[in-house]
Symmetry: C2
DNA sequence: CGCGGAGTTGGACGCTCGTCCAACTCCCGG
DNA sequence: CCGGGAGTTGGACGAGCGTCCAACTCCGCG
């Protein structure tokens, strides 16, 4: 019965939601399970969020915002294009491996969003967020190292996302950090191969 | 009330399940929805399958068997390593694009299988199936074109799967066939780059 | 022609879900 | 010190879920 600021409840429920989703998938991420994880009665959920779907939308927005900040920081220092590309990909993996629940939750939400037509916009927003972050990274590489790509810039960004997505999908199943790191190193080499000689 | 052979019911229900899963995701693929899609009463579902989970397992096994047959056929004629690699990847995309529901359903099942610990073995089996098919393809390339890889054979196979998985994940969201084709062409070039000079 | 077992299915059981509201508690302005 | 609005929540509602079984129908064998 303790009184808690609505913003604090919101933050606690969002954090609890990430844990519940990562643990048992969207299928088990009910309002009851999330509220219990946060140590609140079920009814508190609907005092903070208008609906279960609205809470998922807020969660996605929060995760995407945090990720785009993190990516911007990881390209700060790099002496060569090789360091830049490799550092960005391995940096992405380091962050994902260090706090896997957020990564798992995001993939889970994207898969779950296919269950209805209006939810599908959510998945598109996630990929727009990804594309924006990676597009900024590709442009930064062009400016810092005077790179010209053998394919359109948009295809470079798309290929980078193919690699990170493919690695993440496999890692979600086998949790093999070392293999993910090797795949990412191979992928970094492939991206470097897209540079015009 | 018409009498139908159990095998025919089984096939009809599996086909209906693929359609329902592709249309609305695992979340909406209830026994009632699948039976209705197949034009049967709900109770027929449990006359054929012991449970909903058992039906999903049979579905996965059937899809994997069909896919491994298809992949084996696509590497039949190829004059060069470039044709071999490019043909296999584009061939995979052609089959997936021609009959997207099966591909969608399989990805949906893998995502859904994270909701419980014992189901997680299902996802592992799917990836074992993929790895087997792609491993055979990599070995065939070695024998037919006397290829030596710059990285272990297992990592080549893993990287190919990263590419197909990443392309599929993106295509599931934006359904952009042309972009998928370009990403796959870039990926084929990257695989060729793994050949020892 | 009749009977027994196989095939078939309507309906019910117990459960979880998202959502909501009436009732309770608490704090602050007067 | 007290009244009232804001904060809080137990419990209920209807819907959908997987599963099961008793009862019905039908066919082939004797």
């Amino acid at each position: 019965m303790q009184r808690i600021a609505v913003e604090d409840r919101r933050a606690a429920l969002l954090a609890a939601a990430v844990r519940v989703i990562a643990r048992g998938g969207m299928a088990r991420a009910s309002t009851r399970a999330i509220a219990a994880e946060a140590g609140m009665p079920t009814a508190s959920f609907h005092y903070v969020f208008t609906s279960h779907a609205a809470m998922v939308e807020e969660l996605v927005a929060a995760i995407l915002a945090a990720q785009s900040v993190a990516v911007a920081g990881s390209v700060a220092e790099a002496g060569s294009l090789r360091e830049f590309v490799g550092g960005a990909l391995q940096g992405w993996l380091d962050r994902a491996a260090e706090d896997p629940e957020v990564e798992v939750a995001l993939h889970e939400i994207v898969a779950w969003s296919r269950s209805s037509a209006e939810l599908r916009r959510l998945a598109e927003r996630v990929y727009d967020g990804y594309a924006g972050s990676i597009g900024a990274f590709v442009r930064a590489a062009e400016e810092r190292f005077a790179v010209r790509w053998a394919v359109p810039r948009e295809d470079v960004a798309r290929f980078v996302l193919v690699i990170t997505d493919g690695v993440a999908a496999r890692w979600l199943v086998d949790r093999d950090d070392a293999a993910a790191r090797r795949s990412l190193a191979t992928g970094a080499g492939a991206v470097l191969g897209l540079v015009e000689a």
